[in-house]
């Protein structure tokens, strides 16, 4: 492997029979070795584009001792020089040869022992000398010669030839002695040569280093791996080829193999930094020994970039997965919502910390129990029904409000969004539930609802207060009738003037009037009662018909007709009937008041029920009053906003909160067909 240089520069030269015996040395030596001609031939000079006059002058002076070969161009010279080289002792470039320095440089590798003389115009002599002095790759035997000193030229030429020949003979002597030594290894050299060629083409890099890490040689593949040519690397330290941070590992590797107590393990070296691209080499070291003892180490390099990258990607993916899993686990454990996993029988299989703190059970206590055991009594039925439904993969996640019981027996309310989990193979496998504790929110809601109900009650009582005159009048009529009828009847009876049928008719009138009074009282009492909200199905048309007698108390007073326009049949809605009655009565009360200033003939109140769409029921209360302006309309539902002289401004605010509590909508049209106002509220029909 010590002969890479020679082989790579020119295999053709190696196979040349004339140099077949050589193992080391420069090309100059090779040539010298080939040239076995005796000293009697004094020299051969190649002239390139030299003026004919100069040539003849030289021939005249050196005739017989030196032969001349004349070539026209430097290109021709370069092409032929290689063949002629062993027999060339000097080179003379003519004045007109272009770029003489470059030509000299080109000649130099072919044979650096050939003296080169460059003819110049005298005025260019100094400039050329300067250029030659600072040009790289030029030996000291390249010199300019001014044409003004042609006289001395033959002598200088002779001296140069003689100098070159002496150098050659010295080298030859050295080569001959080495040749004697080299013969011993002749057979081995052949093997080494083939081995080297094999290794040159093998897809592994081989690098020989001495004990100090100085590179002795490398194969082509190693050069490709390190992005260097062998020329650049020979004699260079490993430290220049590998990143500093990896040097420690390399040195250890070399040191281990130098003391070969055990087989050194390969080392992966990252050389990415040195190349700008990701690159990993696996380096194995074995000791390089020759007979004289330890020489260094052979480093076997293998490009493992793809493997390392794949490995690294796998590690990164594994790490990412681990991080992601940990994150999810932390998320699930630390999330404020309780999380429950159940199997397809609703038996708990997992709960998180929030569940434990929310419910007061430890994870061990909760797992294995049926989810229904935690449900509050009031929701058990609903929950049970929901659980027994056939799971549908296509169904989206719904949100439910559910009441639960904690370990201490406290009732908590959560917003739950159960997600049914389906396995592609086994179908429904269980349920994932996330519970948000809304107990406090629920309590606030309930307080607000209670508050609203209290206000609504106050409002009802207030309405009754405002209607007290009308109500008194309403009750007065039957009482008056009863008093008069009974007294009259009694008098007739006592006077013996009572006819059978007259008494009969009178008593039935009395009874009729008593019932009428009682109806009013019952209705009023139910209207102002303050009970818990009772959600029940409401037939809106029945409710309207029921509330009309109350409306008529007032309507009669102001002598205006109440007209009903009811849509039949209407689906039932859910709600508290007293509250909805209140809304209708309140709106009717406002409508009647709005018509105080209206001409009696034009007064009229219409209550209309309808279905704007199949999911909603609408009740509209229309008056024929003056209507309302947009400014009033904008604020009409605001609390304490009133247009009445003695109004509190709470009626419509309460009306609205009642409708809101029923998930309905209330709207106002300030100018209906009669020029009056229409209040319309819409309530949702519950899903069947």
């Amino acid at each position: 492997m010590t002969g890479f240089d020679t082989y790579t520069t020119g295999p053709d030269v190696v196979t040349d029979d004339t140099v077949g015996e050589l193992q080391v040395g420069s090309s100059a030596q090779t040539m010298a070795a080939g040239n076995t001609s005796p000293e009697s031939v004094t020299g051969r000079v190649v002239l390139v584009d030299v003026d004919a006059a100069i040539v003849s002058r030289l021939e005249a002076q050196l005739k017989g001792r030196i032969s001349f070969e004349m070539l026209k161009t430097s290109r021709q010279m370069l092409a032929e020089l290689e063949q002629m080289l062993p027999r060339v002792d000097a080179l003379l470039l003519g004045v007109n040869v272009r770029e003489p320095v470059r030509v000299a440089q080109r000649v130099q590798p072919l044979g650096n022992d050939i003296p080169v003389l460059i003819l110049t115009e005298p005025e260019h002599h100094a400039q050329l000398g300067q250029a030659l002095r600072f040009s790289p790759f030029l030996g000291s035997d390249v010199s300019p010669w001014p044409v003004s000193r042609l006289d001395e030229l033959p002598l200088t030429l002779e001296e140069a030839i003689s100098r070159a020949q002496k150098r050659r003979s010295y080298r030859r002597a050295v080569a001959a002695s080495q040749l004697r030594l080299g013969n011993i290894y002749n057979g081995r050299l052949q093997v080494t040569h083939y081995l080297d060629r094999l290794l040159d083409n093998a897809p592994i890099g081989i690098l020989n280093v001495d004990v100090h890490g100085i590179i002795l040689g490398m194969n082509r593949y190693a050069g490709r791996m390190l992005d260097r040519t062998e020329r650049e690397t020979l004699g260079v330290s490993l430290a220049d080829l590998f990143p500093a941070e990896e040097m420690d590992a390399l040195h250890k590797l070399v040191a281990r193999c130098v003391a070969p107590s055990k087989r050194p393990a390969p080392e992966v070296i990252d050389i990415s930094g040195a190349h700008g691209s990701v690159r990993f080499l696996e380096v194995m070291a074995s000791s390089l020994v020759d007979r004289s003892g330890q020489l260094g180490a052979t480093l076997i390099l293998q490009d493992v970039t793809a493997r390392v990258c794949a490995e690294r990607e796998r590690c990164e993916a594994e790490e990412a997965l681990r991080v992601s899993e940990r994150r999810y686990r932390e998320l699930v454990q630390t999330m404020s919502e309780a999380l429950v996993l159940t199997d397809n029988q609703h038996v708990i299989t997992y709960v998180n910390e929030s569940f434990c703190s929310m419910f007061g059970y430890s994870s061990e206590e909760a797992v294995g129990r049926h989810l229904l055991e935690f449900v509050h009594e009031e929701d058990k039925q609903v929950m049970g029904d929901r659980m027994s439904q056939t799971p549908d993969a296509a169904a989206g996640v719904k949100r439910y409000e559910t009441a639960w019981v904690t370990r201490e027996g406290r009732k908590i309310t959560t917003l739950t969004s159960p997600k049914r989990i389906f396995d592609p193979d086994t179908g429904y496998v269980g349920c994932l539930g996330i519970f948000t504790d809304i107990t406090e929110r629920k309590q606030v809601e309930e307080r607000e609802k209670k508050h609203m109900l209290e206000l609504a009650h106050v409002s009802r009582v207030t309405t009754m207060g405002e209607m007290s005159s009308q109500i008194a009048h309403e009750l007065t009529q039957p009482l008056t009738a009863i008093a008069g009828l009974s007294a009259g009847c009694l008098k007739l009876f006592r006077a013996g003037a009572a006819a059978q049928e007259e008494v009969d008719e009178t008593l039935s009138d009395i009874s009729h009037q008593a019932n009428r009074a009682r109806d009013i009282v019952v209705r009023l009492r139910s209207f102002v009662r303050n009970e818990e909200v009772q959600r029940s199905p409401i037939e809106i048309n029945d409710l309207v018909r029921g509330v009309v007698p109350l409306i008529e108390i007032e309507a009669r007073w102001y002598s205006l007709p109440v007209k009903l326009d009811l849509w039949e049949p209407l689906p039932a809605i859910m709600g508290d009937s007293v509250l909805i009655e209140q809304v209708v009565l309140n709106l009717a009360h406002n409508a009647i008041e709005a018509m105080h200033g209206t001409e009696p003939r034009r007064r009229g109140l219409t209550i209309r029920t309808s279905m704007p769409d199949e999911n909603h029921v609408q009740v509209a209360i229309c008056d024929s009053g003056p209507g309302i302006s947009d400014e009033v309309k904008a604020r009409i539902f605001d609390p304490f906003f009133t247009t009445k002289a003695d109004g509190m401004g709470m009626g419509l605010a309460i009306t609205r909160s009642i409708i809101d509590a029923h998930h309905g909508v209330i709207e106002v049209n300030g100018c209906n067909e009669q020029g009056g106002t229409t209040f319309a509220f819409t309530l949702p029909v519950p899903e069947s």
Partner: protein, 208 residues
């Protein structure tokens, strides 16, 4: 039973929009032995205002169309002389005050005590009867006085003022004899038997 206080010519006119109340009032009045006539609205009564005779009007103030007070006003405008008992639905002092100012002779709150109502009705009827008699006397006196000549009228005024014949003759610059002749004529025209009859007629004359 205050039969002697009423006479057969009196009728109770009932105006109330509530049928049961009308029925009750009619029965009550009937049991009391009085005639009655019912009207559903004020307008209905006005339509037959010409048929209204002596008696009294039981008027509900609280009625659609035309209220009791409006009817009262209308009757006064048409110079229908009939005492009115206003029936109010509930104690409403301003309504009562207005009714009394407008000439109602009484007001009764519903629901009423039947005996009380009847007592008021009788009071009203008897006062109406008296009023009516008074009005008759006045009218009678006016008719008779209208027969007198202006001179006889002057003489009568002297007599009513308690002046003697001689004094009247001096003041009117007529003879004593002429005064005596006028006096006889006055007695005859006024269908008076004595001076006190003449004085009474003159008093009826002023009673309006």
């Amino acid at each position: 039973m205050n039969v002697e206080a009423t006479d057969s010519g009196q009728t109770i006119y009932i105006v109330d929009d509530e049928e049961p109340v009308r029925k009750a009032l009619r029965l009550l009045v009937k049991a009391e032995g009085l005639d009655s006539r019912c009207f559903e609205t004020a307008r209905a009564l006005l339509d037959s205002v010409d048929e209204i005779g002596p008696g009294c009007l039981l008027l509900d103030v609280c009625m659609p169309d035309m209220t009791g007070l409006e009817l009262q006003e209308e009757l006064r405008a048409r110079q229908v002389q009939i005492p009115v008992i206003v029936l109010t639905g509930h104690a409403d002092v301003p309504t009562a005050v207005r009714a009394m100012k407008d000439g109602a002779c009484d007001f009764v709150e519903k629901p009423f005590d039947t005996d009380e109502l009847l007592r008021r009705i009788h009071e009203c009827l008897s006062s109406e009867k008296k009023q009516r008699q008074k009005a008759d006397m006045h009218r009678h006196a006016m008719e008779r006085v209208a027969r007198l000549t202006p001179r006889e009228r002057e003489v009568m005024e002297g007599l009513v003022a308690g002046k003697r014949n001689k004094r009247i003759a001096e003041e009117l610059f007529i003879s004593f004899r002429t005064v005596e002749l006028h006096r006889a004529s006055i007695m005859e025209k006024l269908e008076a038997n004595s001076l006190s009859d003449i004085v009474r007629t003159a008093l009826w004359l002023d009673s309006d």
